[in-house]
């Protein structure tokens, strides 16, 4: 043993991901966004069942006495008779519920003429909305990565065709493609679902949104590969005899992970907003399934169910501004936190780039 060895400073091995994680966690805004989104996740996936167990009814139960005689819903924090049977007098006027009827608590009141629990529906709606966002991002990544790799790495005719198609589709408002495809594929795809965990309609909306938004990551992947394909490590891989497929899989795909992470965080938020748009138009998930989009659509009306904004007196009249505000606040919290998350991720991954 020599003294030299003892005195030598110990070189700690830290890989790039640990460094990135450290930078990410030392960013206060990033941690705040992470906490906020974790809270939203918890509230959406566990909140509905927990609140249901506490108050004794779920988001599908309809309480006729949660609305008054003109079908206006009960307000915030109201105790509502659980009677399912509406009592009528001989002129078919609605009589008040019997005094002996047990009551149940509606934290945010009822959701409209049907008298469902708005609070549980907002929580359940988060589940469906976040599922749509996440599934759509996964689907568009699945489409974008192979095609982007082919276009960016091989170039030539494949690149020309893919780029031109992307350009054409992106020159046109996306929502029109989405609405058109949804209208025509609804009978075939909407029933797909898995119980209450993945409500029917969620896979359809996720698939369509994912397919039509895959052009953005496709461009990202293509641009990245265009710059990387002439890198020295690609040349050396080629020199030792790697096939193109192996180079993409082994050498280039790892370089795409940061880009896709940064894009993915924002894209979840984007896709959730797209779902809102589809539901408000009336072509997304069916109206009885709670998502943040359908909850908003209840107050605005849709092309099929004319609310005040569609020249009809339908659904919209029995809602207050609060029914717009609850889902909006939820959307705002999750979209802002996801946006911030993406920003912070980019800054943690590429600290040398400003802004």
């Amino acid at each position: 043993m020599t003294a030299v060895e003892l005195d030598a400073p110990r070189a700690t091995q830290r890989n790039a991901w640990r460094l990135t994680l450290g930078r990410f966690l030392s960013d206060r805004a990033a941690v705040a966004a992470l906490v906020a989104f974790a809270f939203v996740l918890f509230a959406s996936f566990a909140g509905g069942p927990i609140v249901s167990a506490l108050v004794g009814h779920n988001g599908f139960d309809q309480f006729p006495y949660a609305t008054n005689a003109t079908l206006d819903p009960a307000g915030v924090w109201s105790h509502v008779p659980t009677t399912r049977q509406v009592r009528l007098d001989e002129y078919s006027n609605v009589l008040p519920a019997p005094k002996s009827s047990p009551k149940t608590l509606m934290v945010l009141g009822a959701d409209g003429p049907l008298g469902r629990d708005e609070f549980i529906r907002v929580l359940d709606g988060g589940k469906a909305s976040i599922e749509i966002g996440v599934f759509a991002v996964l689907i568009s990544a699945l489409i974008a990565v192979p095609f982007g790799c082919i276009a960016g790495f091989y170039g030539g005719v494949a690149d020309a065709v893919i780029s031109r198609l992307t350009e054409w589709v992106m020159a046109f408002p996306l929502i029109f493609f989405l609405v058109y495809a949804t209208i025509h594929l609804t009978p075939a795809l909407r029933p797909i679902g898995w119980g209450h965990d993945i409500p029917a309609g969620v896979p359809m909306v996720a698939l369509l949104i994912g397919a039509f938004t895959s052009f953005y990551p496709l461009r990202l992947v293509r641009a990245q590969l265009l710059t990387l394909r002439n890198a020295e490590f690609v040349d050396s891989a080629r020199m030792v005899g790697s096939s193109g497929f192996r180079i993409i899989r082994k050498d280039l795909l790892p370089h795409l992970v940061p880009t896709l992470l940064v894009w993915g965080a924002v894209a979840v938020a984007t896709d959730m907003l797209l779902e809102v748009g589809l539901s408000v138009i009336g072509v997304g998930v069916q109206a009885s399934t709670a998502t943040w989009g359908t909850l908003l659509a209840q107050t605005t009306g849709t092309i099929y169910n004319a609310g005040p904004s569609f020249g009809g007196g339908g659904a919209g009249n029995h809602h207050t501004t609060w029914h717009t505000i609850w889902p909006t606040v939820c959307i705002l919290i999750s979209v802002v936190s996801l946006n911030q998350l993406s920003d912070s991720l980019r800054r943690a991954i590429e600290p040398w780039r400003r802004g």
Binding site: L174, I183, L296, I331
Partner: protein, 365 residues
């Protein structure tokens, strides 16, 4: 001059190609999704016999070879009209009556363009000073407030903005009309509809502006947020540029540095963005129109996709007309902005434009 002409020619060819591709894609998409045009002629109930479906399609001319129909569309377009729509087709005494598309389409274009142009001007007018204030001192209280506001603006769906603004300013405060478009020129009340004698349809510049204020703000709120963030970044970057230091070294006042050296460069980027965001803007216009009960291009296209309530089939001629107009707006808008850009910035002929930096706005387009 020759450079700009060449540049323009290239852009026009590219635009025409885009137009052709969009129309062709629409046409292919329509025929690939098992359409039932016959439903427009026999829209009664859900049960339509196969014979009726075929007969209806034949009467509408939808059984002709696809290529003939495709050529027919361009033939109509070359003659400056859009043909007849299928929606509202009525069969009386073995004669099919269909309405021309033009009278429905032109007012819709006007409404949408009013929202788009006014909203874009408002967005630029507000975002440039806000972005400049935020960008000058990154990290100050003003910057933090503006950035937070921009973040909220980017993350709010226009239908929500629209809904809340109508509720507050229209229904609760009675300051502005709740919805509907008023024409810029005042028209006399239509005769023979049994309207009361003192009925006055809304119209005239004041009514027009009143009916558009909320849509403009709704539209601008989203883009304002995007542009403010961009100008902020651009201003804070260019404050470190050599030409700014030179201007300061010459003794220029801070205001002059901002107004003459920093902001023109930042505005140039906004100009590009405005051009590239026209497609997005039309998507946003869907929700602005829905929120305020306008009957613009977006509503027309959604109606064309779903057909009338009895038919529930897609109205192909109407859809093609709307798609053509939207593509034309995008192409012409891009062309105008490109030309402006080429005139202002001489390097455009050689260098490519900056890549399309789409943010969360993609979510609502």
């Amino acid at each position: 001059m020759r450079r700009i002409a060449l540049f323009l020619a290239r852009r026009i060819v590219g635009g025409a190609l885009t137009l052709w591709a969009i129309v062709t894609l629409t046409f292919l998409m329509y025929w690939s999704l098992s359409p039932q045009p016959g439903r427009f002629v026999y829209p009664f109930g859900i049960k339509v016999t196969p014979y009726q479906l075929h007969d209806g399609a034949r009467r509408l001319g939808a059984t002709r070879p696809k290529l003939t129909q495709y050529g027919d569309w361009w033939w109509h377009l070359a003659h400056g009209d859009f043909g007849h729509m299928w929606t509202g087709a009525t069969l009386n005494d073995n004669v099919l009556t269909t309405a021309p598309i033009g009278p429905q389409l032109y007012p819709a274009i006007r409404e949408t363009l009013c929202i788009l142009i006014g909203g874009a001007i408002l967005a630029v007018l507000i975002s440039v000073p806000l972005g400049a204030i935020a960008g000058r001192r990154i990290g100050s209280t003003a910057d933090k407030l503006i950035s937070l506001g921009a973040l909220v603006g980017v993350c709010t769906h226009p239908i929500v903005t629209g809904k809340l603004l109508t509720q507050w300013f229209g229904i609760d405060l009675h300051w502005l009309p709740v919805g509907g478009y008023c024409t810029f020129v005042k028209h006399a009340a239509p005769q023979g509809l049994g309207l009361p004698a003192n009925y006055q349809p809304c119209g005239g510049p004041v009514d027009w502006a009143q009916s558009l204020i909320l849509p403009w703000f709704t539209f601008a709120f989203l883009f304002l947020a995007i542009y403010t963030r961009m100008i902020r970044a651009s201003v804070s970057e260019s404050l470190h540029e050599d030409y700014v230091r030179t201007a300061r070294a010459k003794g220029a006042r801070e205001r002059r540095v901002m107004a003459r050296h920093v902001l023109p460069n930042a505005s140039l980027r906004v100009l590009t963005m405005v051009g590239m965001d026209i497609g997005t803007a039309l998507g946003v216009a869907v929700f602005v129109e829905f929120a305020y009960g306008f009957f613009g291009l977006a509503r027309l296209s959604i109606n064309a996709m779903t057909g009338d309530p009895g038919a529930e089939a897609t109205d192909l001629p109407m859809l093609l007309a709307v798609v053509t107009v939207i593509a034309l707006i995008v192409v012409i808008g891009n062309l105008i902005v490109d030309t402006l850009y080429a005139v202002v910035d001489p390097r455009t002929g050689t260098a490519d434009r900056p890549g399309r930096t789409k943010e969360i706005a993609a979510g609502v387009m």
